[in-house]
């Protein structure tokens, strides 16, 4: 398994959504699991989020959205990542969580999101998914 303490994770909250409990819970859980986690705080633009991933050289981006704007914000983030030469799934593993209906989740996965998690997801499941996604990244020898 990849050494988690050398994997950097950005947990981000895009848009005007102020629901930050889930993001904080997930950030903390990943820290407890041994990851290095950078939390951006709320009200981030897609540009800010992608710049953060770049400057922090993160391998994982976790996006938390409960506002309903996910089908606008997440595709935009994915596009900006590509523009920076960061291919979702190869250079950076992208996760989403919050209130995201199943159909939208499917759509997002097709666009390159590794996994989408809704309310009540056990934190263990999230950690396991991150572990798995990280192993599939180029920089860790996949």
């Amino acid at each position: 398994m990849v050494d988690r303490s050398k994997v950097r994770v950005v947990v981000a909250k895009p848009g005007l959504d102020g629901h930050d409990r889930g993001a904080k819970v997930v950030a903390r859980a990943l820290k407890e699991a041994g990851y290095e986690v950078i939390y951006t705080g709320i009200r981030q633009t897609p540009e800010q989020i992608v710049e953060t991933v770049v400057q922090e050289d993160a391998s994982v981006l976790g996006i938390s959205i409960l506002s309903g704007a996910h089908m606008v914000l997440i595709p935009k983030i994915l596009r900006l990542l590509e523009e920076k030469g960061l291919k979702p799934g190869e250079d950076v593993a992208v996760f989403a969580g919050g209130i995201i209906p199943p159909d939208d989740a499917e759509e997002l996965k097709k666009m390159g999101v590794f996994e989408v998690f809704g309310p009540g997801t056990p934190l263990k499941a999230i950690i396991e998914a991150v572990d798995k996604a990280v192993e599939n990244l180029k920089r860790f020898g996949a």
Partner: protein
């Protein structure tokens, strides 16, 4: 691999943030790569001025930095930030929360912010902090802020890193003021009493003032007495005076020759650290070998004393060190 590294360095020197970020990861994760990176970029460094911001947990270091970055940008500086937070000794993980207070600068092309975990280092910074500063310096960031973890008394590595050290304290700390007087006092060039919107500012001011008074002769000799600035990072009150104090200290450091002195001390510390860690590594390697194990057994069995045994190992070490 060497070519890949060359490519990265070229891009970083042109200001490519992804390349700069990658280089910082390399110096953080990989000792051998760190050596290569630093050997190549070192000749291009030395242009940046490094300002350290330290102080107790939650005193407002990151919030103040956010405002200072703005003022520095207004004056045309290209600003780099290294913000250090602690690694959990139990899990090896870290939650790096400094950055979130400065996020509005993340899309500014003239600002580069990097969070860094201590990864076991105890002095308030990470082992790779100095190397990361060099990468930013070579990449054209001329003013670099370093935020330490929230520090107590013994974590004073910042003096080995920064040209100017700002100590941020707050009212209502009680015993921690004592700690500041005992240890951190020695390292501060400027004091900021943040959260001046709260009660008890005058108390802290007087305590600091008294402590400074005690060292009066020292300040006279140095030609610099640490100023005390009251700030409220929320409302910007006192932030500009703090920035002015930092600039005055920069000027003082240059004109008095103290900058050269401090950098000489730092270079010496850096060389010393590198020597000590490579020697320690060689010692471990030697002691892991069969021959050394036999020697150790002899020490256990009282056939050889520890001094003579180390003498024998040290003879061998001479060869190892030049390998």
């Amino acid at each position: 691999m060497a070519e890949e590294l060359d490519g990265l360095i070229d891009l970083a020197l042109k200001g490519d943030k992804k390349a700069i970020a990658r280089l910082i990861t390399l110096v953080e994760n990989d000792e051998e790569k760190a050596k290569e990176v630093i050997q190549r970029v070192y000749p291009l460094t030395g242009k940046a001025y490094v300002v350290g911001v330290t102080g107790p947990p939650g005193s407002g270091k990151s919030t103040l930095l956010d405002k200072l970055i703005k003022l520095a940008r207004d004056e045309g500086h290209r600003v780099g930030v290294i913000a250090v937070d602690p690694t959990s000794p139990f899990t090896g993980g870290a939650l790096l929360g400094d950055r979130l207070r400065m996020q509005r600068h993340s899309t500014d092309p003239g600002v580069f912010i990097r969070s860094m975990a201590t990864r076991g280092a105890l002095g308030g910074l990470a082992k790779a902090t100095n190397d990361a500063i060099k990468v930013l310096d070579a990449s054209g960031y001329d003013l670099i802020f370093v935020e330490t973890v929230g520090v107590g008394q013994i974590e004073v590595d910042i003096v080995k890193t920064a040209d100017t050290v700002v100590l941020v304290t707050v009212p209502g700390l009680g015993d921690e003021v004592q700690a500041i007087k005992a240890g951190l006092m020695e390292v501060a060039d400027i004091f900021a009493i943040n959260k001046a919107d709260r009660e008890g500012v005058e108390m802290v001011y007087l305590e600091l003032k008294m402590a400074l008074e005690f060292e009066r002769d020292k300040w006279k000799e140095l030609g610099w007495e640490p100023p005390i600035v009251e700030t409220t990072a929320f409302t910007l009150r006192g932030v500009r005076p703090l920035w002015e104090a930092i600039k005055r200290h920069m000027e003082y450091m240059e004109s008095s020759g103290r900058l050269r002195e401090r950098r000489t001390f730092r270079a010496r510390e850096e060389v010393k650290t590198i020597i000590a860690s490579s020697v320690a590594k060689r010692v471990e390697e030697r002691l892991a070998e069969g021959e050394a194990k036999e020697l150790i057994d002899e020490v256990v069995e009282r056939k050889l004393d520890p001094y003579s045994a180390s003498r024998i190992v040290m003879e061998k070490l001479k060869e190892d060190l030049w390998r």
